[in-house]
Amino acid sequence: MNTVVIPVATQMLFHNHLRFAMTVIGIAIAFFLAAAQIGLLVGWINTNSAIIRHAGVDIWVMAEETRAFDYGTAIPRHRVQQVSSVPGVVWAEGMLMGWATWQHPAGKRINVEIVGLDSSHAGGPWQLISGHIDNIEQPETVIIDELSYDVLGLRELGDEAEIEGNRVILGGVSRGVRTFTAAPFVFTSIENALKYSPYYKDEEIAFVLAKVEPGVDPGVIRDRIAREVANVEVLTTAEFAERSVKYWMLETGVGITVIITAALGLLVGAVIMSQTLFAITQDHLGNYATLLALGFHQKTLRRIVLTQSLSLGGLGIITGSILFILACNASASTPIPLETTPLVSTGLVVFSLLCCIAASWFSIRAIFKLDPVMVFHG
């Protein structure tokens, strides 16, 4: 059957080179728009939970009802010792997360997120391109990301600025630590952070990060900590990352907006394909009637239309994917990266192909209505 369907379907498409090319380009752009929107969403999700996922711990302990990493609030620092003493916990240390105002050397003021790290620096930057993580133990010394050079006005180690009227010295530069909130992360020690964060008193932190014994289910230890430590909420790393992502994506409406835009992109692609396929089918109704008269089954003709739809869709998706990969590479070192995962990519391709199949419905309906006797009437 394919020896009939494929040559007829493809040659019919290629017969009008210009329309074929324009359709593929249209679908490619629509697919790229959808992929870019979803890539933006994935990039944001990854950015949003990056510090949580890179911290290398299993359990996060925080104030009750903490909505996201960026909204950590004060808990007593001695919670670290309490968590450490829970059976199954190998080690635990604190982390401070607070908002502060950064005074740019040129005079402008910028909101920043101060991340205060404990002695092992859990939750700190995972890649440094200059300086050393131990530098944050020095008074007034911080690490910023290279993406924040211009925003914060520091570039060379030793450069100075101010936070809340206190001097800061650049002690290191990280790579790939993006912020979702537009307020750059500034890493330092808990002791330094307490000076810069007006909302924390001495001996307060925002989170306790705990590592559990190898082979032990973090969920079991989470429940144990929750029973033994009062007035805190305990989440596994996966749960906290999911909560942070859900907060930004769903509760703030950002994610819904992006998903709607992605869906619109796919809809535009489906409409372009549907219109083009229908036009091609209408142009070739006489040929389809001839094929019917010659003894070709309706199902063969439907397969021809579906093959055309999948060919156009497939080529459009391949072209759109190439554009998307180029865009991902180009955006990799920007504050707003386009990213994807194998699951998301597969899902998008499958969904796009389903849109292509749906787009062929009007054409298939036109063929259903076709009466082969029309071949005898010119």
Binding site: A293, L294, G295, V375
Partner: protein
């Protein structure tokens, strides 16, 4: 002679209630192996309607069509398609080749659709293209061929899968006299060689002497004319 196709009391009417137009009135007809018939009549007389019924493209209002002793079930579209696929070959007024396929591809897809093996298709295609003097056109597209060449390709397409019946609707209408005559002669020659029943609808009465049998239709009533008398009466238009 072996009977290939039989019409038993076939009639066709359009409309319902008081507004019924009877376009074909009780046709009883039998077609034999290798027999070439021509169907003539004025416009609107029912020629195309009868051809459409013979081609299993249109259901009769009354009567039966038998092909190789099997009654055609007009209520089953799938079985109608099967009959057309296996037993019928068509030649249309404007050839109606698929413009986006080469001549070879236009022919090959009919063979593949009929379930022929690739080797058989190739052998058959080579033979037909040779006999119809189309070998040089094999890889060309229909738009690159003249009207006569296109109709020769249509003849090859109609015969490729060895149908027992070939139906042609005004195959020379778009051709000049000489080209048309050549096409009809080729069609007759090839159909006879294949022992296929050939039914040709034409307005061109000059073609009538070429056929074994002349069927005339007027106001939906079919009659058969003696070949000699018809030729004598009608052949006056021969230039």
């Amino acid at each position: 002679m072996k009977s290939i196709m039989t019409c038993k009391g076939i009639a066709k009417s359009y409309g319902t209630g008081d507004i019924v137009e009877l376009v074909l009135k009780r046709v009883d007809l039998e077609f034999f192996e290798g027999q070439a018939s021509v169907l003539v009549g004025p416009s609107g007389s029912g020629k195309t309607t009868l051809l459409s019924i013979l081609g299993c493209l249109l259901a009769p209002s009354e009567g039966q069509l038998l092909i190789a002793d099997d009654t055609v079930n007009f209520s089953d579209k799938s079985s109608l398609t099967e009959v057309r696929r296996q037993k019928l070959g068509f030649i249309f007024q404007h050839a109606q080749l698929l413009p986006f396929l080469t001549i070879e591809e236009n022919l090959a897809i009919v063979g593949r659709n009929a379930g022929m093996q690739d080797d058989d298709i190739k052998q058959r295609l080579d033979g037909l293209l040779h006999r119809l003097e189309l070998k040089a056109m094999r890889y060309k597209h229909p738009a690159q061929l003249s009207g006569g060449q296109r109709q020769r390709v249509a003849i090859a397409r109609a015969l490729l899968h060895r149908p027992s019946i070939v139906l042609a609707d005004e195959p020379t209408a778009a051709l000049d006299w000489n080209t048309g005559k050549t096409v009809v002669e080729l069609l007759l020659e090839q159909a006879r060689m294949e022992k296929a029943v050939l039914v040709v609808v034409t307005h061109d009465t000059r073609m009538l002497p070429l056929f074994d049998r002349i069927l005339s239709i007027a106001d939906g009533i079919l009659s058969e004319q003696a070949q000699t008398a018809a030729a004598e009466n009608i052949f006056y238009t021969q230039p």
